[in-house]
């Protein structure tokens, strides 16, 4: 029995081995890169945003299991959401991962993400889980600032 069995739960390994919405997107309106320079996680986030909603979301990732699984679950959650709701959920997820004391109740659509609570015990890995979400925050901001229908690249998100 490894100590990390709780960390590497089936949900996480499933998303790691079969990440959802993986790859590049033709016709993305927003493209943002995210990197964790210390451990080498890298991803590119593609969003198709129209009328204030995320019509489609894809991630091309080269990262560890925690990073890949977190991004995969995030894309499942975000597809179809208005930007405002997407931002609320990012904030909620980040609150869950960063607060040390409380166990955070997640809404039903975020149930799978509870598997990532195990990461909280390993402070160095939290940034792996957060990278896709921080990258999405930049993507949301970029989408808001850009003119409708014009593809833009956001600033690269780097987690130290």
């Amino acid at each position: 029995m490894s100590l990390s069995d709780e960390l590497y739960r089936e949900t996480i390994l499933d998303h790691y081995h079969n990440p959802r919405n993986q790859g590049e997107m033709d016709g993305a309106t927003v493209e943002v890169e995210g990197v964790n320079p210390l451990c080498g996680d890298e991803l590119t986030l593609f969003l198709d945003v129209a009328e204030g909603s995320i019509k489609d979301i894809k991630i091309k990732s080269r990262g560890c299991s925690i990073n890949t699984a977190s991004g995969s679950m995030m894309t499942e959650l975000m597809a179809g959401l208005p930007l405002e709701r997407a931002q609320e959920l990012v904030d909620l997820f980040k609150f869950m991962m960063l607060n040390k004391d409380e166990t955070v109740e997640l809404p039903e659509e975020m149930e799978d993400l509870e598997a990532l609570q195990g990461v909280k015990k390993y402070p160095v890995r939290i940034k792996c889980a957060l990278l896709p979400w921080n990258t999405l925050l930049e993507g949301i901001e970029t989408a808001r600032e850009s003119e409708a229908g014009k593809p833009v690249k956001g600033k690269t998100v780097s987690t130290e």
Binding site: S2, L3, S4, D5, L7, Y8, E10, L13, D14, H17, N18, L38, C39, G40, D41, E42, R62, G63, C64, S65, I66, N67, T68, Y122, R125, C128
Partner: protein, 427 residues
Amino acid sequence: MEIFGLVYQQVIEKAMFDVAKIRADFPILQRQINGKQLVYLDNAATSQKPVQVIRALTNYYENTNANIHRGIHTLSEEATIAYEGARETIARFIDAPETKSVIFTRNTTEAINLVMQTWGRQNIHEGDEIVLSAMEHHSNLVPWQMLAKDTGAKLVFMEVTATGELDMESAKNLIGPKTKLVSVTMMSNVLGTIVPVAELADLAHAHGALILVDGAQGVPHLPVSVQQLKCDFLVFSFHKMLGPTGVGVLWGRTELLQKMPPFMGGGDMIAAVWREKSRYNELPWKFEAGTPSIADVIASAAAIDYLQALGMSQVREHEIDLTSYALDRFAAFKHATIYGPLDSSKRGGVISFNLDGVHPHDLGHLLNDSGVAVRAGHHCCQPLMRDLDVSGTARVSFYIYNTKQEIDLFFQALEEAEKVMGNVALR
């Protein structure tokens, strides 16, 4: 017969590398990590410290602490003698012809930056070429990028062969009349490759260029003579060779150091100061502005004493033995890819590897659960990672206190990690 027996006994003792005895000198090896015996295989990042080095630090602070070079009281005198004595120990260790050519810095990185800012700015101009290898640590790459950007000089790179050795053909093609400096690692911190420095020195000198050797990985593990390496500058740090953090060395040929301008201005590096100008101190103090890391320098000499008592050739033999053993076990490990030369006589005790389908960061995490400390990531060699087409690797690296039993524990932990990550039903 009696006498013959005694001599024989001494010869045997010298030849024997008593790892159990060595391990007893390293308190940290008693630590438990996650309830398991610590197996420390991250020596290329930093080594552990024996009690002899730790005692040198506490003894200095408990009995001798004073600033050097300027007091007339007993403590200052003792501190100065110990500090300058360390310089002599180090000069002997690297076979330097003159003690004054050993300059203390904070670390290897600072020593390289010193050469870049002083010799480099004086001698490198637009159109000149600086020859590096494709496996340099960022510390022997980024400073030269900065210099090239400022001067208009060009960086060119000697390639690495498919078997992980330095491609001497590419070295011969690149080192030429435009070359001003060859700056190269003595041993790769990723591939373990030992670079034929003396051959490169001959090539550089044939074209009037200089050679700087980054000994951060090489000096702790190989017998070193600056005269045999034929280098012009050698840089290394003590924290990778049983010493404290915070001390590095620049050794340079005396006539070069004498011509170089100071690196930093301040106390200790001056001979006389007026309101408008200063006359600089002699070697080596010209390059040592401000109060240095006195205790750490003194403890670094204790680290060298420890290594010399073992003998650097014996240190090397021990690491070849461990590396061969680990390479054999890796060969039997189905899903592992290892990087670098397969012949342990051509490499140091550093093995980078990946397991199919497992990110090195996950691997490092899971090995830690079993008490095994390895490095995972790009190892400050991002360009080499791109050449290898990987985002990173896991890496084990050995030193004097490691054992085959620890390598067995590592492989056991590796099997467990593979079980956790690999659960093939999910793939």
